[in-house]
Point group: C2
Amino acid sequence: MKVAIVGIGLIGGSMALDLKSAMDNVKIVGIDKNEQNLKKAKELQLIDEVATLKDLKTVQVVIISVPVDVSIKVLAQVLDHIGENTLVLDTGSTKEKICESVKNHSKRRNYLAAHPIAGTEFSGPEAAIAQLYQNKTMIVCEVEKTAFKLQEIAFDIFQRLGMRIRYMDPHSHDKHIAYVSHLSHISAFMLGKTVLDKEKNEKDIFDLAGSGFASTVRLAKSSPAMWSPIFKQNKENVLETLTEYIQNLNEFKNLMEQDDFEKLFEEMKNTNHIKKVLNGIN
Amino acid sequence: MKVAIVGIGLIGGSMALDLKSAMDNVKIVGIDKNEQNLKKAKELQLIDEVATLKDLKTVQVVIISVPVDVSIKVLAQVLDHIGENTLVLDTGSTKEKICESVKNHSKRRNYLAAHPIAGTEFSGPEAAIAQLYQNKTMIVCEVEKTAFKLQEIAFDIFQRLGMRIRYMDPHSHDKHIAYVSHLSHISAFMLGKTVLDKEKNEKDIFDLAGSGFASTVRLAKSSPAMWSPIFKQNKENVLETLTEYIQNLNEFKNLMEQDDFEKLFEEMKNTNHIKKVLNGIN
């Protein structure tokens, strides 16, 4: 099987690694506008060859793993270049706009809208790691719009990567993912900013930081090139979650100002319920 | 050496484990108002015997590891009961109020104000783990107010636990720790609350949560009995950090509403600098 990966970074590179070990006779070609990434990906043996859109005619599967603003442009171009029976997947963290963008494309049935709930705070081909997708969730949107035979190929790949599948409509996906993924990134970025701003005046502040701070702020290391377009595409949902988050923080602040530490205790006690919810994640 | 641990949970219990393996002939006695905890601590061999304040006369070192509202009450009682040459440490996450509370105590020189930057989101004796303090920071406040010979004993213990020492005045400690520890907990608790509230109406939302969410919200599993008193004691500093955090989130929201995703990109890019800062933590 010949697989093309468009955008050979953390997500595409990790997929390449696992496809190579999970399948016989798989050949991976890489397409990337960044020459350095392609060179690095070849050195790291993530890809066997460099390719261009013109080579997609002879490819069975195309995986698009670029920032979500780029993937909207690239998906239509890829669909224009593929063969009749090529499967095209994207892996972006927003699904409504990309599904909308190709709804009238003559090759719509070649496309499967997907979003793997997997990743790290790092990016680029050096960030690719084996078994990133093991026991993780792959969200698939508008499955009914993809040709049945190509669905089968996709699900075989997801199974080989060790993933479970959840089906959602793009609208619900974007709404829910704003809460459990996009908001966490804003929370971490602004926590990082608040503490960095403080450090300008107060030296050595990070000497006091422990693993709790490191964990809470971890996502602030994430790539702005990836995240700025996500916030743009999912603006409405993200603003809703952000408004609620700020409201909850303001209520916490009010309780502190009113010295109502009993109510604060109750709030935290109720939120401890997150323990149960988090079992199974990680 | 006979060591008494007042409050035998995550912090005290983990210290007990390491003292036992780092020192010859150490005997650990436990004091706790919770009978269940004492029983559990004995079963887990964190302590050798149960004790009371009256037994402190014959103890060389007392470690107080209870919530910070309790430790203020307990510290004076402990100082009242100890022998002439007993060292007393506390391990609380606030230092100004506790130092203030014993500044005129006749045994002030027996007390060393300490705060280990170590822990997990769990609590109770079952949460105790070996080597929790290895390569971590111990903040020591008002070191000059502790008898020199007792300082030596304390630093020998910290060294055996694998810790490095940082000296600070209590006021600076509470101010800085509000940024790098206390604020992270509020950020995580309110993130957890925001998503849990949403889940009441939208089922299966956590099926979409990945390791990023889990990491950012991890501290929302922390004990309210420990954290509510910390926020109370450090109210002024915590409110300052919380106000700045909310302000940064509001600015982020404004940039999104104004579709200024270039500025948003810049903000995130600048905050990526946290990568360097976090190297060395964890």
